[in-house]
């Protein structure tokens, strides 16, 4: 992708737009425009060909322009015929409200990502549902493929405020049982959860035949941990605090976090869950590419 397009899709730039639905459109269309060719063969939300109109066909996809010019009735046929049922699960716990200097909060990043994905999915005529959670299920929008679904999703996303502990526990299991049809599950979180609970929950989805894609959102400051002064760290979820000189524990802290993540990623791969990590300064085109690559495999 050309560098100049990536600048437009940087979280900082994009986040300045006020309305989430505009952001979603901006990100997706910016992404598609910036590509030299389609993300993968066969992907097109554009129509592919005409089919002769038969009595009884829905008039929704009738090509009126052609009718106006030639008096012949054709129905548009689109490349993308399969209808995938997707669920986007977004972590809205307190920890998602974190942001280092100059970056957007993880929740903001996750929300934009969720909105863009929903936008993309609707355009592809997939149905998409939305779930937000912190210490329990916060909201649930059942999957639908109509355009108005986007509005519902945007509404929920725009209103989401980071608060509460991060507990996946029963929530994932309940959700897995609730979803009747196999589809795609996109899990967006900073993964400050109990690893066992998370894996167990994702396993349930896999067991039920769903494909799972995990987007791990990090903040650059969490990854670098370069604090210069003596600091009092206050937990955003529990309120506990620890005062320390961060540079003294930096190396140990980073290797501890690394170890943890490596273990978690390995366990995800073991159950065929796809994992992608994005820090909040990474432009959205990468995340979209990741999703589309996964989607392609699901025909």
């Amino acid at each position: 992708m050309k560098p100049v397009y990536r600048d437009f899709l940087s979280p900082e730039t994009v986040s300045r737009l006020s309305r989430l639905d505009l952001i979603a459109r901006f990100v997706v269309e910016g992404y598609i425009t910036g590509l030299h060719k389609s993300p993968y063969h066969g992907f097109s939300a554009e129509f592919a060909e005409h089919r002769q109109y038969m009595v009884g066909d829905s008039l929704k996809y009738l090509d009126w322009k052609v009718f106006g010019r030639t008096d012949r009735m054709y129905v548009k046929r689109f490349e993308e015929e399969t209808n995938l049922k997707s669920h986007i699960i977004l972590d809205v716990s307190g920890s998602m409200g974190f942001h280092g200097e100059g970056s957007v909060t993880k929740l903001r990043y996750g929300s934009i990502l969720a909105a863009a994905l929903a936008f993309l999915m609707i355009r592809q005529r997939d149905s998409v549902g939305m779930v937000t959670f912190s210490e329990s299920l916060k909201s649930y929008i059942p999957p639908r493929s109509v355009q108005s679904q986007l509005k519902e999703i945007i509404k929920v996303l725009s209103a989401a405020e980071p608060s509460g502990a991060t507990v996946t526990g029963d929530m994932l299991h309940t959700l897995a049982e609730r979803i009747a049809v196999r589809g795609l599950v996109v899990f967006i979180s900073d993964l400050f959860v109990d690893p066992d609970e998370l894996i167990y929950g994702l396993k349930h989805f896999r067991h039920n035949g769903h494909e799972v894609l995990v987007f791990h959102i990090c903040d650059p400051k969490e990854l670098s941990f370069d604090y210069g002064a003596e600091t009092k760290f206050i937990d955003m979820e529990t309120g506990q605090s620890i005062t320390t000189q961060p540079w003294l524990i930096r190396d140990d802290y980073l290797s501890l976090m690394n170890e943890r993540m490596t273990g978690l990623v390995r366990r995800m791969h073991d159950i065929s869950v796809d994992y992608a990590r994005f820090s909040t300064d990474v432009p959205f085109d990468r995340a979209l590419s990741e999703y589309l690559a996964k989607r392609k495999r699901l025909y």
């Binding site: 409200g97 974190f98 900073d190 206050i234 937990d235 979820e237 506990q240 320390t244 000189q245 802290y253």
Partner: protein
């Protein structure tokens, strides 16, 4: 212990600097909202205890360094009173120039000086050595030259009229 340069000792106040700096930096701790201190907490017990000890030692050593440097500048001196049994090597210089022929209080000044020198020689102990140097027109050491244990001999030569 004496200090030959006690004025410098006021700088000892600088020895408080390492401790002060440490205390100040503690108060300036910045508050940062952090997503999950679970992992910081896990590290706190053993690692941070070890680090605390290291910090303390550092402060101690730095304070000590400053104290020693300041003391060095103050030039500590140890009294010879501590070492009564140390050997003394005495060098006595007697002015034997013409001006010493002056008579003061009924005595030739040179003789007074010689007498004083003799007294000092008398104060010396068994193991002490001495040399007397006459610093007149041609300064020379009395006797065979160099320090000598034989104070008596030196006294005699001294008494000979110039």
């Amino acid at each position: 212990m004496n200090f030959l340069n006690p004025a410098v000792l006021f700088a000892m106040a600088a020895a408080a600097l390492p401790l002060v700096i440490h205390l100040l930096s503690r108060r300036r701790a910045k508050d940062v909202a952090w997503p999950s201190i679970e992992f910081l907490d896990r590290m706190r017990t053993e690692r941070m205890r070890r680090l605390r000890l290291k910090q303390l030692l550092l402060i101690l050593v730095r304070t000590l360094i400053i104290v020693l440097i300041v003391m060095a500048f103050a030039r500590p001196a140890v009294n010879s009173a501590f070492h009564r049994n140390a050997r003394i090597s005495a060098v006595i210089v007697v002015d034997s120039s013409a001006s010493m022929s002056y008579v003061h209080n009924g005595e030739v000044v040179y003789n007074t000086a010689a007498r004083k020198a003799g007294e000092i020689l008398g104060m010396l102990g068994e193991n002490d050595t001495a040399a007397v140097i006459l610093s007149g027109d041609e300064p020379h050491v009395l006797g065979s030259g160099g320090l000598s244990a034989d104070k008596g001999k030196i006294s005699e030569i001294l008494d000979e009229p110039n």
